[in-house]
């Protein structure tokens, strides 16, 4: 057992078969339908499907950029090395009533606890990364596990997918069949002619075919890198299982089909806009908003991130604007 795992505080299985978990003043337990969260000033129930889908992404993304809201009460804020776990922090009513609560943890401690919770609470047949139309239900008493699904490695290319020695392209043989909703996506690979000696530099791949073979939804993963500029395309179906609060500007390029985004003020949750994106559309998400996407058909979205570690402080201090360009 690693040191990471030894910091996990868990209790014995309850009558439903699930362990309970503790992080500072927060306690988490699950029953057949709900996750119960308690903290010194309140309690909260979340439907277990919603909770596990959000928890899966928070774990796989190592808390991502900024805020991951599981719903309008519970969530995390990434400070890159340490993480806030909060209840009601971005909920105007909780804040006004002074019922919100926030505690900070080293990333390894909260990450270890979250990963243990995700593994213990995910039953056989339920894949929190899959579209709800492509997986079993999470309900009921404890029934096996799906460790293989919940511990998937996130794709993270060094230069670009398909470059020699970098992330590999996907195929039937490597276990990535074409998704049912992308059956019509052409699978031709680019013609690549390389002169001897340049095999590690001349590279191209079919990104759309690659995405058509993704087995997960709402999981931005790095396919190409220009210094801190990261292409993080993802395939989207149904609803983004978290509400993402930005700590920097991020950009969306809709590669196929359609997504409707609900955009709210990051801190209060007050609605600001709906951004309706079709194939070829490009839109920025300002640094002071939270957003949640709705994708009626599985679609391809290029999420473009600036990974610079300096950005959150620049934006929080007002030295960099919350929106990308002035015109």
């Amino acid at each position: 057992m690693s040191t990471t795992e030894t910091t996990v505080k868990s209790g014995p299985a309850n009558e439903h078969g699930y362990k309970s978990f503790e992080l500072g003043g927060f306690q988490f337990r699950r029953d057949e339908f709900f996750v119960h969260v308690t903290w010194p000033t309140g309690t909260h129930l979340i439907s277990v499907d919603v909770f596990l889908r959000a928890l899966q992404r928070d774990c796989a993304w190592n808390f991502f950029y900024g805020t991951v809201n599981f719903d309008d009460v519970i969530g995390t804020i990434n400070h890159y090395g340490n993480v806030d776990l909060f209840a009601g922090r971005f909920n105007e009513a909780y804040r006004t009533a002074e019922l919100d609560h926030l505690e900070n943890f080293p990333s390894e401690e909260i990450g270890g606890t979250f990963r243990a919770m995700l593994d213990d609470w995910t039953n056989a047949g339920f894949d929190p990364f899959a579209s709800p139309a492509e997986t079993d239900a999470p309900w009921g008493v404890k029934n096996g596990d799906n460790t293989k699904a919940v511990t998937r490695q996130r794709v993270a290319a060094n230069r670009m997918v398909g470059v020699k020695g970098d992330e590999r392209i996907r195929s039937d043989e490597s276990g990535y069949p074409i998704n049912r909703m992308f059956a019509d996506v052409p699978q031709d690979e680019p013609e690549v002619h390389v002169e001897p000696g340049y095999e590690s530099e001349i590279a191209a791949f079919n990104l759309f075919a690659y995405l058509s073979r993704s087995d997960v939804t709402w999981n931005p993963s790095v396919v190409s890198v220009v210094k801190e500029s990261l292409y993080c395309p993802t395939t989207e179906e149904y609803i983004l299982p978290i509400v993402h609060g930005n700590d920097r500007v991020e950009w969306f390029i809709q590669l196929s089909d359609f997504i409707s985004w609900d955009v709210q003020d990051r801190d209060s949750g007050s609605p600001r806009a709906k951004v309706i994106m079709k194939a070829g559309d490009v839109a920025a998400m300002p640094a002071d908003i939270r957003h949640q996407g709705y994708s009626p058909k599985r679609s391809m979205l290029l999420v473009w991130e600036n990974n610079s570690a300096d950005l959150p402080a620049l934006i929080a201090s007002g030295k960099a604007p919350t929106y990308p360009v002035n015109f």
Binding site: F182, I202, S229, Y323
Partner: protein, 164 residues
């Protein structure tokens, strides 16, 4: 057969989305469409459609043969529509300006070893490896999206491309 139809855009056929403002300024979203931008660009103009500090995504209308470019850092290019060949040459000597970000124009034809070429169709992405010269050629009008850094060739015309 369920017959799902995946919709990609193209120069000939694209439908732009929209912003429904509730309490905000549409300019904060810098909303544009790569096919619309390409439809109004000159051949091989590098028009910024997304900018995050120094990092930029440029839309390029590929038509005929481009000049040669070189860059001090990796770049990538994604073909959004059409068919574009990219040729690569490893220059005999350093022809890029060291420390300059973004694509740089090369005067004339760079002398060096041919490294190879790639033919990109819709959805294909290629690495434009740093310090290697490259040029595009397209027999029919095509659309590229380049991942790079703001540089001497980047054109910013936000007011004319974005919803406001």
């Amino acid at each position: 057969m369920t017959g799902y139809k995946t919709v990609f855009g193209s120069l000939d056929s694209f439908e732009k989305g929209r912003i429904e403002i509730i309490d905000d300024d549409p300019k904060h979203y810098a909303f544009s469409n790569v096919f619309e931008v390409a439809s109004k660009s000159k051949a091989y103009e590098k028009v910024a459609v997304a900018l995050n500090q120094q990092y930029v995504l440029e839309v390029i209308r590929a038509e005929g043969e481009s000049g040669w470019y070189v860059c001090d850092h990796d770049e990538t290019v994604l073909c959004m529509d059409g068919e574009v060949r990219v040729e690569f040459v490893k220059p005999d000597e350093t022809i890029h300006k060291v420390g300059t970000d973004g694509s740089q124009s090369v005067a004339g034809v760079p002398s060096g070893n041919p490294m190879g070429n790639v033919l990109l169709r819709r959805g294909h992405q290629a690495l434009l490896p740093k310090h290697s010269a490259y040029r595009y050629s397209a027999t029919k009008t095509s659309v590229l999206l380049q991942q790079t850094i703001l540089g001497p060739l980047t054109k910013q015309r936000w007011a004319s491309i974005c919803l406001s």
